[in-house]
Symmetry: C2
Amino acid sequence: MNDIDAHLERYARLTLEVAVGLRAGQRLMIYAETNALEFVRVVGAMAYRMGARYVYVLWQDDVIHRARLQHAPKDSLTEMYEFEANSVNEMAEARDALLAITSGGPAPFEGIDPELIQIESDAIEERRERFWQLLGSQAFNLTLVPFATPEWANRLFPNDSKALEKLRKAMNHAVMLDTPDPSAAWHQTCEILHARCRSLNAKRYSGLRYSGPGTNLEIGLADDHNWSGGASQLENGIRFVADLPTFEVYTAAHRDRVNGVVRGTKPIDVSGGSVEGWSLEFRDGRVVGAHAARGLEFLEAILNADESARYLGEVALVPSDSPVEESGVIFRSTLLDENAASHIALGRTYRRTIKDGEDMEAKAFFAKGGNLSRVHKDVMIGSDEIDVDGVFADGSSEPLMRKGQFVFER
Amino acid sequence: MNDIDAHLERYARLTLEVAVGLRAGQRLMIYAETNALEFVRVVGAMAYRMGARYVYVLWQDDVIHRARLQHAPKDSLTEMYEFEANSVNEMAEARDALLAITSGGPAPFEGIDPELIQIESDAIEERRERFWQLLGSQAFNLTLVPFATPEWANRLFPNDSKALEKLRKAMNHAVMLDTPDPSAAWHQTCEILHARCRSLNAKRYSGLRYSGPGTNLEIGLADDHNWSGGASQLENGIRFVADLPTFEVYTAAHRDRVNGVVRGTKPIDVSGGSVEGWSLEFRDGRVVGAHAARGLEFLEAILNADESARYLGEVALVPSDSPVEESGVIFRSTLLDENAASHIALGRTYRRTIKDGEDMEAKAFFAKGGNLSRVHKDVMIGSDEIDVDGVFADGSSEPLMRKGQFVFER
């Protein structure tokens, strides 16, 4: 077995054992780009060796997809087969395991009109509502993991013959595959994240205050908010890690209680391109000003997706020395980059970040400060220059993060 | 554009224009192995440029598929998602175009118990009955084309650094892509095949008699049989070529009127392996003896699939100088090899090879001499050493093929 094959086997094992938490007898659906073929084959075959009852791969191909967006008539972009819409709904209804692999980042759709991407994506997501609903209520184990491909590497390190090697090395560090026992490293990390959630939940902050270069923002937290992070557990005992890597703890922002300005600390990547040097201004929860040195149209497309996309749904805290940040690479992929820095999400609040939120009617959910939108877009606002204070209901406050580290963990 | 890219574009154009007969505004489903990725991308993107409304690729992966057959519990082999079963049914109901690409041949499943392959395949085909029904009645345009991959090349030419180049060259000759104007060459070939059908249909032979080394066989033709070959045309005017390459004319054998012995002139390839040096003995249509120098178990698996698999459904005539035979390569793929030599098919009769057969009840279809089986397996019995006579209802006969050529075309 050569180095690459050994690497793929090692990564597949971490993916299935820790991230998916595959249980023998489960079916596994793999959602992947064709350029991840070599990894999908290793992980798919290994799943059978681990006792999977059935493995189905739902393939995507960026080249044909891009051709669609370029050449197909606009009125055809909402078209898809019934069976395609049903695929993930059926998987979720059956409580099968889902492994999604991201291997490209956004660049395949560079230069495509964001409106076309949005029309197509809305049509798909509308018909997969049942899937998202079951995903939101943690009905099945699932994970999203990255896989380094030449296309991705060449976008990050153009004209560099070592591009793929560099990306692989950075990614191995980010997912802690370069540690002697990656499974153990992840179990330990998840314990730290769980402990952090317990501390934050005990605090019952009513809000968080961010200050630093270009940032002066206060974010209210939803009533009965709940901090989450690390591994999740299903009722049947299956443990999984929904994102690999994950170094965040997150909860529900209060939809109507966000005020001030915030400057982004990383670019925002979307299907069609990238937003650089951006800032947002909030008043009573609503984004009332958006600026960007480049790609403002993509930011506006997010904000205009629906009325609730202009409000926050999530706030997440990440120490500035996370392995993703340590890797020194901006991956231009939310999965990785959101775990390099504290962030907020425009749009949808994860229902489980508000107590009993999963079964709450929309009106009650809004009353707690939750947000419902078809958008959930993470944008990075943290760095070691940003201080975060915890604000109590009585208006008093205390330092929460300094120089990117949690004060209470010192 | 390099040589390979130019070749792929040229092949994609032939595939879409002549074989699929894609009409602007149609949807296209592509059924392909992941190892054909580079061709699928070119043909998929080109379909959009030609006006396809939507392109969906139904991917198969042999590596994961093999792992299933090796490791999954036997009782799970009938399992599949509803949406998977529905996929091709939905495509056929919508009268979309279908492009199937074969790029591997049978070897990925070498060493796998044929029974397991059969269990899995029966479960899939049972749930795709509607698809096969619509395919049989030519409700939509479809084609099957080959694509040369390194895996395929290395199986045919092991330890040969020029393997892929050799396979590509042979395949280009077989599909006439090495002619100055491949589209024109195919239009001309289809005209010749249509003319041959007209001649044979005018003859109203009651049977064919084969003689040559190891072969002394008389095959009755079904009542009201109809010779077909070349391009097909849908009611809406779409023209397509269901197999690329195709050099056969074919019709319905009479299920109960086959007597004598026949020696195979090419190996029979199946999912699990290959049958070499084989012969069959028929009495009143039924195979009463089967012999093989190697792989007899695969031949027996075909014959035992159901009671009707022991009877013939089709007889096809191919001149021995077809471009496939000229290529000098045994491709170990029915699509190509059946067009190198005259053949017969065990099992199912294509309904359209008997007049009004498409809407006929099974009993009436059998009464005409048709056969219905879940199997349709072509096996090669022709060469330039085999003579074929046409037999008339009154028992008289005339030479039909000599040294592999049609006598009436001389």
